[in-house]
């Protein structure tokens, strides 16, 4: 390869845990003889201070710019090597690790020489991957424009206050001109919170006075495009003018949920049986009611006992207000006997003093509303009582609301119908993703009171401010291994956006159409199943590309013995289980050669095909347990890719069992060992693929087929989407779909083989000759040829009255 780099390998002895078990001298000799590797060092402990000093010295002396450490678990130790060797000019991606201790030394009873041979193959494969690495510059994230707070929720104000307090400029996009209006309407979202309004007003005045806050009055949010640091936000004009576009660096969404009234099954009529929002309106327009007021905290009956805390606080606040102003009104709180009353000692005392009655009812019997009475069952005596009322106040129904749903949709927040917007956190290491969360605040996120909503606003603002300050100081970098789009290859099909749920892939500008995509590097988690799905290879994970993985499998496949098995393990499942088996020293079949990926979904079918093409006889992919993939649906997508590979192996005339997907829980290494042993056993029964010229030709056809955009497109259609809830994907019309896919795959397989042959031989072929060379019937070949001629891929000429075909 053209890549001019110097690769160093460091072997650890790790006390007595590697050195006597693996013949280090022999391993060193073999590595030194390899032209790929410039330097080999041996350290008692590479990871300790003395060893690290040795590494740094060797790197400086030999000008090494790629390093393989053959020691222990990369999941645990790689971070330290990256941190320590940063001074030596090595960055993430330039250092790789082989778990010589846990995957080779400790887990079998092979002789030290045999273990050295195994270690050599693994190290060489990683070195080949590093050689192919095309290092990209560290991407700095800049913020173009101020922060914007939109959505119109009340958390807008606390967020704006926090931002201006931290010296960050911001635009506040709201629907009304006056903040007094917002306070007037606030009880519709947060009933029973009047006692908090003074503080809220102080915040609003503070925001109003701040020179850093610009207030704009806008209509509905229309669209948001761009990425972290550079967004275009479009609103409709409230007066019906042309849409208004703002360029902002960061977006905080303040969204309030909606309060709905209970249905008639609780007797709600809007006059005498009312909900909190109506009660609050009544209190402030007509004043406290007279007679008997009963607050029934019916959240248990409404199916949401978890909201009873909020309802009870709001009801208590209103009850107190009524009793303080209208001493003749009788106020009773009727609550489920299991509900914890969320009052402080002082509030309980105040409640007693005000004569507010708290009556528990047995939750086993649902209270019944009648005209003027509620019947309930006493939890102690089990006698049913009647409680008279003139006004019955019910808890509200809390929902996310249409407004908030709409905004969330435009902001690209993944959202299930009717559910609150609380995000599902990506279960990846913090260092893997630049921005941990979408900045969202308010009761649309999850039901909360005003205080919590404002707190969320402050939190979102603080996090945003932290990011902006870091960017202003020039210290904010995107993670190294994230997806990038080669926009010259991208046709804007949007498949990647559909299957990725990081929310990091956006059109370059405007929605829809054949517009190339780009990736927000601060949101991408680097899972890479989107990259493996791209029909045109336009999407790649930078510093961790499919080319690197192909180089790795190619090198490993060439060195493997016929009975040895290549495997891939994902860092969360297979690899972790293998590491833990190594820590425990559990023995398993030593013929397994595991390469690691950070998600099994990173494996492009071309990588899988490359393994077979270059000499592997079988391939085991070990991912997470089902539904446990840490990167969207990488595991499910791999299922589909393995399915494609099985079809192609079948077409080649090989056993479909040669490739398999398996699942491993990292905490159950014994299960992992059963997986490995059983697969290797069945592969030993199959024997190797004979590398005859005929088989080689078929494998080359297989490799070309998985890189065919049409096949990749059909495969892309089968991949599980984030909204599908079935593993491993859409199983409706499974048979019909599978047959269609098989049709496409076999067509393209033949065409790929014809193209390979014509290209290789570079001479005109007759149909008969082609059929003989490819060992196929003439009929399907004829069909393929006719199409290929029609498309202009293949030229047809006549010699002596017989059609000859040649590659154009």
């Amino acid at each position: 390869m053209a890549n001019d780099c110097k690769i160093g390998v460091f072997l650890c002895e790790c006390g007595r845990r590697i050195a006597p078990l693996v013949d280090i001298d022999q391993l060193k000799e073999k590595l030194e003889a390899d032209p790929l590797i410039s330097y080999v060092g041996v350290e008692p402990f590479s990871c300790l201070a003395p060893g690290m000093a040795g590494l740094k010295k060797a790197i400086a002396d030999n000008g090494l710019d790629r390093v393989v450490v053959a020691g222990c678990e990369s999941r645990v130790m790689l971070h330290k090597f990256e941190r320590e060797l940063a001074d030596s000019g090595l960055e993430a991606g330039q250092i790789d690790m082989v778990n010589l201790r846990g995957h080779v030394a400790q887990v079998s009873d092979l002789s030290p020489e045999e273990k050295a041979a195994k270690g050599f193959k693994l190290i060489k494969a990683l070195a080949a991957g590093l050689e192919t690495l095309a290092l990209t510059a560290h991407e700095k994230v800049e913020f173009k424009g101020p922060a914007m707070i939109l959505g119109g929720g009340i958390a807008t104000y606390s967020a704006a206050q926090e931002l201006s307090r931290r010296g960050i400029e911001c635009i506040v996009a709201v629907a009304t001109d006056e903040w007094e209006d917002e306070i007037r309407m606030l009880h519709e979202h947060y009933p029973g919170e009047r006692h908090y309004y003074d503080r809220l007003e102080a915040i609003m005045k503070d925001v109003d006075a701040s020179p850093l806050v610009r207030r704009i009055t806008v209509g509905e949010l229309a669209s948001m495009t761009g990425r972290t640091g550079d967004y275009h936000v479009t609103f409709s004009d409230p007066m019906g003018g042309p849409p208004r576009i703002y360029e902002v660096g960061a977006v905080i969404a303040a969204l309030d949920g909606q309060m709905l009234n209970q249905g008639s099954d609780f007797g709600h009529d809007g006059r005498n049986v009312i909900c909190h929002t109506e009660a609050e309106e009544l209190l402030w327009t007509l004043g406290p009611p007279e007679g008997k007021v009963v607050f029934w905290l019916n959240d248990y009956e409404a199916g949401h006992p978890e909201y009873s805390y909020l309802s009870c606080r709001a009801a208590w606040s209103m009850a107190r207000y009524i009793r303080e102003r209208s001493p003749l009104t009788q106020v009773t709180m009727l609550h489920h006997h299991q509900m914890a009353i969320p009052l402080s000692a002082g509030e309980r005392a105040a409640s007693r003093k005000l004569g507010i009655k708290w009556i528990p009812y047995d939750g086993a019997l649902r209270p019944t509303v009648q005209a003027g009475f509620v019947t309930y069952c006493d939890p102690e005596s089990h006698v049913e009582h009647e409680l008279p009322w003139d006004k019955l106040v019910l808890s509200p129904r809390r929902s996310v609301g249409q407004e908030a749903t709409k905004v969330a949709h435009i902001l690209g927040l993944e959202h299930q119908e009717g559910a609150f917007l609380e995000e599902r956190k990506q279960r990846v290491r913090p260092e893997q993703v630049g921005r941990q969360e979408a900045f969202l605040a308010g009761s649309a996120r999850y039901p909360c009171d005003l205080h919590e909503s404002l707190r969320q606003g402050r939190r979102a603002a603080a996090k945003t401010a932290e990011m902006i300050s870091k960017a202003q100081a020039g210290e904010l970098y995107a993670p190294r291994m994230v997806c990038v789009v080669d926009q010259s290859k991208c046709i804007g099909c949007g498949l990647c956006k559909e299957i990725c749920d990081c929310g990091g892939i956006e059109p370059v500008e405007g929605p829809g159409g054949n517009i190339p995509r780009h990736v927000d590097p601060m949101v991408c988690t680097g899972g890479g199943t989107c990259a493996a799905a791209c029909p045109y290879h336009a999407l790649t994970i930078q510093n961790n590309t499919s080319d690197q993985r192909e180089a790795r499998v190619s090198t490993l496949a060439q060195t493997l013995d016929p009975d040895e098995v290549m495997a891939f393990g994902c860092a969360w499942g297979g690899l972790a289980a293998a590491d833990n088996a190594g820590v425990k020293g559990m023995a398993y079949d030593p013929r397994l050669y595991m390469l690691q990926v950070s998600c099994i979904g990173q494996l492009d079918p071309s990588v899988l095909a490359r393994a077979f093409l270059d000499g592997a006889n079988s391939l085991l992919l070990i991912g997470c347990p089902p539904e446990d993939c840490h990167h969207s649906f990488g595991l499910d997508h791999t299922w589909s890719r393995v399915n494609l590979m099985k079809k192609l192996l079948g077409l080649c005339g090989f056993d479909r069992r040669r490739i398999a997907l398996a699942h491993a829980d990292l905490n159950r290494p014994e299960d992992y060992i059963r997986t490995v042993n059983s697969f290797i056993k069945s592969m030993a029964e199959l024997g190797p693929i004979e590398r005859t010229p005929e088989n080689r030709e078929k494998l080359a056809g297989l490799y070309a087929t998985v890189n065919n955009p049409r096949v990749r497109w059909v495969l892309g259609a089968t991949l599980r989407r984030p909204w599908e809830d079935v593993y491993p994907g859409n199983q409706r019309n499974a048979l019909a779909f599978d047959r269609d896919m098989m049709g496409v795959v076999s067509e393209e397989f033949i065409r790929a083989r014809v193209a390979n042959l014509l290209k290789e031989q570079a001479r005109p072929f007759q149909l008969r000759e082609l059929a003989a060379a490819l060992h196929e019937d003439e009929k399907p070949l004829m069909d393929s040829l006719r199409e290929m001629v029609g498309e202009g891929v293949v030229g047809r000429m006549h010699k002596d009255g017989v059609a000859h075909y040649v590659m154009r």
């Binding site: 402990f45 990871c47 201070a49 003395p50």
Partner: protein
């Protein structure tokens, strides 16, 4: 360069190396439990004690945190050191009798039974906090910590319920020196939504 002797062997060290670093670099093995190369040393388990001779006096220090100094005379397996290790292992044996790793290590020092009271025969955890430090320093997730105090102290996520911060990477399970974290991992990351069958179950 500093020069010192370990077990009578003249060795050299750089300023900033610990005694453990220096000994391991020169092929001298010191047993450890709470120590892991990926995180800062902590000195919790005291198993890595070594004896420093100063004239007629000697004292015991934890080698993982004690820096190498010029002219030190270090003994890593003198009678005094081994006696202390046997005591520690005997106590650990009563603390976490279920740990295979602890039993094996104690066996190597001839400790097979314990005179201390065994409170929980199923316990494996020695509360060294290595998992907590790994979660903070290696992963950066800070998902686990010690919960409770004194005799009630244990390792877990806040309130001992599966937390959002855990990314289920399993670093804690891999670094755990006694195999205890495997048993409590489910309580930290949560039970997987799909549980795969086990043979015979």
């Amino acid at each position: 360069m500093l020069s010192l002797t370990i077990d009578g062997k003249k060795v050299e060290a750089e300023a900033g190396w610990s005694l453990l670093d220096t000994a391991r670099q020169h092929g001298i093995d010191i047993p450890t439990l709470c120590y892991h190369e990926a995180v800062e040393p902590f000195g919790a388990c005291r198993l890595c004690v070594v004896e420093l001779k100063q004239g007629n006096n000697s004292r015991l220090v934890a080698s993982c945190v004690y820096p190498a100094e010029e002219g030190l005379e270090v003994f890593t397996s003198s009678e005094k050191v081994n006696s202390v290790r046997r005591w520690i292992l005997e106590m650990l044996l009563s603390e976490c009798p279920a740990s295979r790793e602890i039993r094996e290590m104690a066996g190597q020092y001839g400790v097979n039974t314990t005179r201390f009271e065994v409170k929980d025969p199923e316990e494996q955890c020695i509360l060294c906090g290595l998992c907590v430090r790994a979660c903070a320093q290696v992963v950066g997730a800070n998902a686990i910590s010690t919960v409770g105090r004194g005799a009630q102290k244990e390792i877990g996520s806040p309130y001992l319920v599966p937390g959002e911060d855990c990314v289920a990477c399993g670093t804690c399970v891999t670094v755990c020196p006694t195999g205890a974290m495997g048993a409590r991992f489910e309580r930290v990351r949560g039970v997987p939504s799909v549980i795969m069958a086990r043979p015979g179950k």
